[in-house]
């Protein structure tokens, strides 16, 4: 094994033109280029550029350090934020059984209202009463409504129950905001509906829901 060949790497500023000139890639410099005055100016410019480069490299080193510091601060902040939010978000969902129980209790009350109404005497005739009640039942084609015997004494409380449920659905239960008051609820409901026409398909709904609980 002999000594590895030693390549002289030309100086990027000083040696580049000389190397190219020696390799025949560059024409000989013109006469005025070799004049001492120009030479001195160039060397001065090279020194200035070298100094500037050193200054920029030093600044780059400082900025890289600052960037590392900022990255670390960001990571620390995100970690602390996650820890803090996880302790603030103490939401506990209600058991299904509780919700079902409340629904059943309401169902029982609705039935009581329907019985109360069915004992009242209506001033409308059978046909008028049927026409008046039909739009307040759950949606059903006229052909099906025509097949229902509205004068059936056993059926009447059930139809009035259907009407009462639809009333509660329309004025209160169809939206999560209507229970917070007439004006406020309708305003929120309008805003929410325009923002999220299909709430289940929007991930923002979950974020809204989560943050609203966390504010408490």
């Amino acid at each position: 094994m002999g000594e590895p060949p030693c390549y002289q790497v030309p100086d990027p500023i000083n040696g580049r033109e000389e190397a190219m000139f020696s390799q025949g890639q560059l024409a000989p410099p013109p006469q005025h280029y070799q004049q001492p005055a120009f030479q001195a100016d160039l060397e001065e410019e090279i020194r200035r550029l070298r100094k500037e480069r050193q200054t920029l490299e030093a600044e780059k080193y400082v900025h890289e350090g600052e960037l590392r510091e900022l990255r670390k601060m960001k990571e620390d902040f995100q970690r602390l934020q996650t820890e803090k939010l996880s302790s603030v978000d103490n939401f506990q969902p209600e058991f299904d059984e509780t919700i079902i129980q409340k629904f059943k209790m309401l169902e029982s009350s609705v039935k009581s209202v329907a019985r109360f109404i069915s004992k009242l005497k209506t001033q409308l005739g059978p046909a008028e009463w049927k026409s008046a009640l039909a739009p307040h039942l759950w949606s059903a084609p006229n052909t099906v409504v025509d097949m229902i015997d509205f004068q059936d004494e056993n059926l009447r409380p059930k139809l009035l129950k259907s009407m009462t449920w639809k009333f509660l659905q329309g004025y209160l239960l169809r939206s999560p905001f209507l229970c917070y008051g007439v004006q406020l609820g309708e305003r929120f409901d309008g805003l929410f509906t325009s923002l999220f026409p299909e709430p289940r398909k929007s991930s923002h709904v979950r974020i809204l829901c989560t943050t609203s609980h966390m504010e408490g």
Binding site: F91, P93, E94, D96, I99, I100, K102, F103, K104, L106, E107, S108, S109, V110, K111, V113, F116, I117, L120, T122, Q123, L124, W129, A132, L133, H136, L137, W138, S139, A140, P141, V144, V145, L155, K158, K161, T164, W165, F167, L168, Q169, Y171, L172, L173, R174, P176, C179, Y180, G181, V182, L184, G185, P199, R200, K201, R206, C209, H213, E215, G216
Partner: protein, 139 residues
């Protein structure tokens, strides 16, 4: 939202109850009924209170819990099965009937559906039927 939840029988809730009573009176008038004011208020007090409480309970869940407003076309397409997972013809408060298959005349009580789990995940998944819709069958 949390601030809104903090009240119990606030002025907003009183106003809401009053609004619902007035709307229900209008509905009864359309049907030709004349109920004594005092009797009507007494009869509506409990259901409206329970309805508002249920609405608030449901509104505070991250799962989306909805009354299923039946689309009648679906009922026409399929009859109620004896072991139907969405509908029942048995009124639990009556307890004098048994599940049968048949054509649906009209729904009486809406179904109560829950979309997603308790923490609000999987909202697009198939809903859980918490309470079946009570329906009247033809004939």
């Amino acid at each position: 939202m949390a601030r809104l939840n903090s009240f119990e029988r606030s002025q907003d809730e009183v106003d809401l109850t009053e609004f619902l009573i007035e709307q229900f009176k209008i509905l009864l008038e359309q049907l030709g009924y004349e109920a004594a004011e005092k009797d009507l208020r007494r009869k509506l007090a409990q259901p409206l209170d329970r309805a508002i409480k249920l609405a608030k309970l449901v509104a505070n869940q991250r799962a989306i819990i909805q009354l299923y407003e039946p689309e009648f076309s679906k009922y026409l397409e399929r009859q109620k099965k004896e072991d139907d997972s969405w509908m029942t013809n048995v009124d639990s408060t009556e307890g004098d009937d048994h599940e049968i298959a048949g054509d649906v005349a009209t729904p009486i009580t809406p179904a109560l559906l829950k979309y997603g789990n308790g923490m609000g995940a999987h909202l697009r998944a198939k809903p859980t039927v918490l309470v079946k819709s009570l329906v009247i069958l033809m004939g």
